[in-house]
């Protein structure tokens, strides 16, 4: 009676694994990027909500 359910999931097991790999790849890339850039790179944008307009760089 689980035949229908089982049939539909054949080969499906790989799908979650693919997406997990995708996510871990993205995650690792993000971490590497952020570590490389360093804290100072984001200092100006992190001050955005605070009303010190002079620190905002609009290019």
């Amino acid at each position: 009676m689980y035949k229908e359910v089982l049939r539909s999931i054949e080969g499906i097991g790989i799908f979650p694994s693919i997406s997990l790999v995708l996510f871990l790849g993205f995650f690792t890339g993000l971490i590497i990027y952020l570590v490389k850039k360093g804290k100072s790179h984001f200092e100006d944008v992190s001050r955005l909500p605070l009303e010190s307009d002079d620190s905002i760089d609009n290019h």
Partner: protein, 733 residues
């Protein structure tokens, strides 16, 4: 260089603030009402519109969509223009957003007590309101995206990312979960059935928590914590990791609401794994918020805004630790269906959503009224009432939930259930229900103090409808293209939104599509048949009365459950269930195998007065079922709608349905009369009353796998020489 002068619209902020407080109090009071009904089942009794099953969805909808919903708009309409250095794109759309949302809430307040409901948790509203929600949500989205488009600040601050994710994901969730075929103006059936419907519903339900109660409030946290503490967020880099991991992982976690059910095992496992991983971004976000206050903790003692923010973020941390733990199968086995879950959600709702909302109210109100908060002392009083109220709410629920669940599972040394009578386990935790009502009352008192304080604050100031600000326009839109990707992405809203959509769709598609491929329209168990028209009417009454709020229809494969309720539930048994009615809470016992368990007369007496058959029961009485007529006029439309979603009723059966319905009703009524129930307390029992339909439905539940009985046998349509009630089986897959 030219500097633009522009004005923030504080009017819309004020409106959403008032609406937040107004609906908040209503939502809390309805919550207190249903809490009292669990202690005094007759409280406001015998009025159908005020019965527990109808008010409980009103409470959840009011708190989620009216209180938290208006609070989200309140926060977005205040912070977004300020972060974009631009006024909202369209004042007209802001107004339509506001009044449209209030109209939707009002329609919920009217239709839910009248029994118009889809039964799907946090998606109870019927199809015309679903359409309205879509329209208003899109209007909000357009207004937000266009404001971002017209901004004067190149970089999108992290709060805005969370707002974008909220808009995009809620739109997807709402639309997918609301695909339904209307039968009448206020009645529809979902296209999904059984297992599929359950998976879609909890994919929606869980992500409603994620993208309605979490991401917008995280955006609010990322704006208001730095503002209130007057220092930048602890780590901007952490917020980037926080954002992407959170939205990617959250979307997968829904199946943890369906552990040990008939949902395929791989989907359950996926739900557990992703739920466990969620702890990382959730705690990353929490720590980012709390660590922003490094060196400013002394101010937390004095500033009510910071107090509410801190308690809110702390509660978020606790609830997001609890969530993954509850997703572990053997923890879930104990906590699911119990009051523990009610405690868990209220920890989040009262302190995280409530805390952040009140923090915003205390922050924004004095600023838009150009004054100081009327009384810091009263705000502190509110803080303690809210915190202690939540403690008095949550701890009894934990205690009661675990106690009751362990009682359900306890066996004697002879191997029999130690508490075979479900009511014993209910009676045991009634003191906890009383304490919970006390906690809720404390929380409401605190909220009333807050309203008074905010009102006095507004009175003492001068409302500033248009707040002036100045900023340079973005001179060169192409600037920054030499930046590395995330920094670049942060100044490109369209690409940002597209990437967000892709990220949330990955989980949705991979998890959902395989289950959608399960062909639920072909019986996987050949003896499982569609409902007869009378049973269908009974099922619709079951839905309208909200029986699923307290009764599950999903027996998990544990010995403690098969001993108590019977054979565990199979996926193939629900293929005609549009919608599924598995439930999520057992305030009363599971009903999946209730068919044939008691005589019809037992159900009659039980519905009329539950304590007559079950002394000490806290189930409300449904005397109106004996006097109100069932809906005979629309049965043909409902049969047609169900055929449209795939139930194999034969072409043209809708014209015979009423005849079948009445014949079956008369059969049951005759049986009741023969058993000596011609009348109950002077109320004559006749075949067109709702009680007959609900009896037919309850007696049908879970019996199909027990044998090859044909539910249509003996009905007028079965004597028809044509196709009869059901389509001929063309394949025997």
């Amino acid at each position: 260089m030219a500097v633009d002068t522009f004005y923030y619209d504080n009017n819309i902020v004020k409106k959403f603030g008032i609406a937040t407080v107004f609906w908040g109090i209503i939502g809390f009071l309805v919550g207190l009402t249903v809490a009292l009904k669990l202690i005094y089942p007759d409280f406001l009794g015998f009025i159908p519109e005020l019965s527990y099953g109808r008010l409980r969805p009103l409470h959840t909808n009011a708190v989620i969509f009216a209180f938290a919903g208006n609070a989200i708009f309140y926060g977005v309409y205040y912070s977004l223009p300020r972060l974009c250095k631009a006024e909202m794109w369209s004042e007209k759309l802001s107004k339509i957003n506001f009044w449209g949302w209030q109209a939707i809430i009002l329609s919920a307040v009217i239709t839910l007590p009248l029994g118009y409901t889809t039964s799907k948790e946090y998606a109870e509203l019927e199809w015309p309101i679903d359409v309205a929600i879509t329209v208003i949500w899109v209007i909000f989205g357009i207004n937000m995206m266009m404001t971002i488009w017209k901004r004067r600040e190149k970089h999108l601050y992290v709060a805005i990312w969370f707002y974008i994710a909220t808009f995009v994901t809620v739109a997807v969730l709402h639309i997918v979960n609301s695909v339904e075929v209307p039968a009448t103006l206020l009645k529809s059936y979902p296209v999904y059935a059984g297992v599929q419907d359950a998976l879609v519903q909890w994919w929606y339900g869980h992500n409603a928590v994620a993208f309605f109660l979490t991401t917008p409030f995280l955006g609010i946290m990322y704006y208001f914590i730095p503002k209130a503490a007057n220092r930048p967020i602890f780590s901007y880099r952490l917020s980037i990791v926080h954002f992407w991991s959170l939205i990617f992982l959250y979307i997968w976690a829904g199946p943890h609401h369906l552990l040990y059910t008939a949902l395929p095992g791989w989907a359950q496992a996926l739900g557990t794994v992703f739920s466990l991983m969620l702890i990382a971004p959730s705690w990353g976000g929490m720590l980012n918020g709390l660590l922003t206050l490094r060196g400013a903790w002394d101010r937390v003692r004095e500033d009510p805004v910071l107090k509410f923010l801190v308690v809110g973020i702390t509660a978020y941390g606790m609830a997001t630790f609890e969530g993954p733990m509850l997703s572990i199968a053997n923890v879930n086995a104990v906590a699911h269906y119990s009051d523990y879950i009610i405690g868990h959600v209220h920890l989040g709702a009262l302190l995280w959503n409530g805390g952040l909302t009140f923090a915003m109210l205390y922050y924004i109100t004095p600023r838009i009224y150009k004054t100081d908060l009327y009384s810091i002392k009263l705000a502190n009083v509110h803080f303690w009432f809210a915190t202690m109220g939540a403690v008095f709410y949550v701890i009894p629920m934990y205690w009661g939930g675990i106690t009751q669940s362990l009682m359900w599972k306890e066996f004697t040394s002879e191997g029999l259930l130690a508490y075979p009578n479900f009511l014993e386990t209910v009676q045991q935790i009634i003191p906890m229900y009383a304490l919970r009502a006390l906690g809720g009352t404390l929380f409401i008192i605190g909220a009333c103090v807050a309203i008074y304080n905010l009102y006095r604050t507004a009175k003492s100031g001068q409302f500033l409808a248009a707040e002036e600000d100045q900023a340079q326009p973005i001179v060169d839109p192409a600037a920054g293209s030499d930046e590395k990707w995330h920094r670049r992405l942060e100044s490109r809203p369209v690409q940002f939104t597209a990437l967000t959509l892709v990220v949330i769709l990955i989980g949705g598609i991979i998890e959902y599509v395989p289950t959608a491929l399960v062909d639920s329209n072909i019986p996987t168990i050949s003896s499982v048949k569609p409902y007869t028209p009378l049973e269908l009417e009974g099922r619709d009454i079951y839905i309208a009365e909200g029986c699923n709020n307290c009764h599950s229809q999903m027996i998990r494969p544990f010995r403690s459950e098969t001993e108590r309720y019977g054979e565990y539930s199979k996926a193939g048994e629900f293929v005609y269930d549009h919608p599924f009615l598995w439930g999520s809470k057992r305030t009363g016992p599971d009903l999946h195998r209730s068919g044939g368990k008691y005589p019809d007369s037992w159900h009659l007496r039980h519905m009329y007065d539950p304590t007559s058959t079950s002394p000490g029961s806290i189930m409300p009485a449904y005397p109106w079922m004996l006097t109100q007529d069932m809906d005979m006029e629309t049965i043909d439309e409902r049969i047609s709608a169900l055929r449209a979603v795939g139930v194999p009723y034969a072409e043209g059966y809708e014209d015979q349905a009423l005849e079948d319905m009445m014949a079956q009703a008369e059969e049951i009524t005759r049986g009741l009369h023969e058993a000596g129930f011609k009348e109950v307390d002077g109320i004559e029992i006749t075949s067109e009353k709702q009680i007959i339909a609900i009896i037919a439905y309850l007696q049908r539940l879970g019996i199909d796998i027990k044998g090859n009985n044909d539910p249509f046998e003996g009905l007028p349509s079965s004597k028809d020489l044509g196709t009869g009630a059901l389509q001929q089986q063309t394949s025997n897959r």
